[in-house]
């Protein structure tokens, strides 16, 4: 570990700015929401978050987000690799369109996807031949989350992949390692921190996602396709305007996401340390 006193200047200044801006824009407003959840007694809080529909929503959100983030890691790595390493017609276009899911409003994405994957839509009809129903099932949720999450992974990997020194692979090749072996043992560890960042971001985004999911999920309690954000909105928009309940569920959601991100950060730092040695 480095000594606390670094020769690089700007510690105080950047620390001050970072903490101040983080507090003003993020932490203080969030604290006011979470303040509401403490208006519930611990017993009420526990009763609320252990209701079957709430637990089910958490399971759905986390499960689907996890699956989608994994899928995104595989395809995101592939896309980033192909975009950085190979030349082929339409590459520029492909590169340019990766961010599309960010630019398309989530509601539009959700509406469009739900239509495309319903049994009346282009892709839904195709899937139906194999007896697969996409829209209004968990598969639909995963599809929507893959859509919104893919840029996170690709864009996290691309810069690192571009900066990867050639000498690494060359050395490995000279030592007689096969291409795939080189990839697995030399390149992948180098990409690991970035891949984990992408995974974490896609996962976290997926757990809280609302707009693109509600149209395609069908929100059926029976099928277990209600996501956490939907339950929160239910609490807010139902006749009773239950701020406390909404805030309590939001708090749990936040804690889970925060823990996930923290764990990923820890792994990332550990991975970074290992490769630097």
């Amino acid at each position: 570990m480095k000594s606390k006193r670094s020769v690089i200047p700007g510690f105080g200044l950047t620390m001050g700015i970072t903490v101040a801006m983080l507090s003003i824009f993020i932490l203080i407003p969030l604290a006011s929401v979470l303040g509401y959840s403490f208006r519930l007694s611990p017993a009420e809080f526990w009763e609320l978050i252990t209701r079957p529909n709430v637990i089910q929503a958490f399971a759905t959100s986390i499960g689907c987000a996890f699956a989608a983030a994994l899928i995104n890691c595989v395809f995101g790595l592939l896309l980033a690799w192909v975009l950085v390493r190979y030349d082929f017609p339409g590459k520029r276009l492909m590169d340019g369109m990766i961010e599309l899911p960010f630019a398309l409003p989530t509601a539009v994405a959700g509406i469009t996807l739900s239509r495309m994957y319903s049994d009346q839509g282009v892709l839904g009809r195709f899937l139906e031949r194999f007896g697969i129903q996409a829209s209004y099932t968990k598969l639909g949720i995963i599809i929507a989350l893959v859509f919104v999450g893919i840029p996170f992974v690709v864009r996290a990997l691309q810069p690192v992949l571009e900066k990867l020194p050639e000498s690494f692979e060359e050395a490995s090749m000279m030592l007689g390692a096969g291409r795939f072996y080189t990839f697995r043992r030399v390149i992948l560890p180098e990409l690991m921190p970035a891949l984990l960042t992408g995974f974490g971001l896609a996962l976290a985004r997926g757990i809280g996602e609302y707009g693109s999911v509600i149209y395609i999920s069908g929100n059926s309690q029976k099928e277990g396709t209600q996501v956490v954000s939907y339950i929160i909105m239910q609490k807010l928009n139902s006749g009773s305007v239950d701020y406390e309940g909404a805030a309590a569920i939001a708090l749990v959601l936040l804690l889970i996401s925060f823990l996930l991100l923290l764990v990923i950060n820890l792994i990332q730092i550990a991975a970074g340390r290992r490769t630097r040695q």
Partner: protein, 285 residues
């Protein structure tokens, strides 16, 4: 430059083709199909309706609000991102991991909660509202931080907050800080080190971050929806699209897709800009 080398960095042709093939198929299904669907539906009732939709008064007003929110959010988040990335990659300190995870919070927060957060702080029942009222009285202004354009800007900043820093951190981390340390020992001042030593390394990552941030800001729906309710005044493009879509008539649904295509166009313009800058940058090197 890499392509001419025969050092074994290249895969066998069939592997390459297979990888490209799979990516292209995934790309077509996941990204191109929805886009084609949007474009098709925006134009299927003719160009006249399309033009009418994108030149409507409400659309132009929404475009204006969207641009204001996006540029402000990008400026604020770029400044923050540079500071945070410097802090998190050049120094070791206690609580670094926690701080890093805190910065990522907006990624994981349901946009629904993001909007609510500002309302609980600055809205009618918010605890900071008396202070804002007092400030307005002293300054003789009438600024509201929710259900207004400033509210939209704040909500946009919230959801795009970590975008720039997240792009910078992996690159800076991969870079290590030995160059900066050397520069500092040679007596260079903080900003000079940043500009001369660090900046050249992070230029592209920074641009990626800015573009990501801008693209996300343009498309944000959930958080802004919570603090913007007046169509033609504080609506952004995504809200206008939603309003058109929810208007329920066949025409207005087509118009909703027309405005969506405008949004996509905005994104494409930005991405082309990025490509040009990037291309020039690579040629220089």
């Amino acid at each position: 430059m890499k392509k001419q080398k025969t050092t074994g960095r290249e895969e066998k042709p069939w592997v390459r083709r297979l990888l490209i093939g799979i990516s292209v198929v995934f790309f077509l299904i996941m990204l191109v199909f929805p886009l084609v669907e949007v474009l098709y539906r925006s134009l299927k009732d003719g160009l006249a309706l399309y033009v009418e939709a994108i030149t409507a008064k409400n659309t132009l007003s929404a475009l204006r609000v969207t641009l204001i929110a996006t540029v402000t959010a990008v400026a604020v988040n770029t400044f923050f991102g540079l500071c945070a990335a410097w802090l998190l990659t050049k120094f070791e300190f206690k609580g670094k991991q926690v701080l890093s995870a805190l910065i990522d919070i907006p990624f994981s927060i349901s946009p629904v909660i993001a909007g609510l957060a500002y309302i609980m702080t600055f809205g009618r029942m918010g605890w900071a509202t008396p202070a804002i009222d007092w400030l307005n009285e002293v300054l003789g202004t009438d600024i509201s931080l929710v259900f207004s354009v400033p509210g939209v800007v704040l909500a946009t900043i919230f959801v795009t907050f970590p975008f720039v820093s997240r792009e910078l951190i992996p690159v800076l981390q991969a870079q290590g800080s030995s160059e900066e340390e050397a520069a500092a020992m040679m007596g260079a001042k903080g900003f000079t080190i940043w500009r001369r030593v660090t900046f050249p390394h992070i230029r592209w990552a920074l641009l990626y971050g800015i573009i990501l941030c801008a693209a996300r800001a343009i498309g944000e729906f959930g958080a802004v929806y919570a603090v913007s309710k007046a169509r033609g005044k504080t609506f952004t493009l995504p809200l206008e699209i939603d309003a058109l879509y929810m208007a329920g008539s066949a025409d207005s649904i087509t118009q909703a897709f027309a405005v969506s295509s405008l949004l996509v166009l905005l994104a494409v313009v930005m991405l082309i800009l990025k490509q040009i800058v990037e291309h020039r940058g690579k040629r220089e090197q």
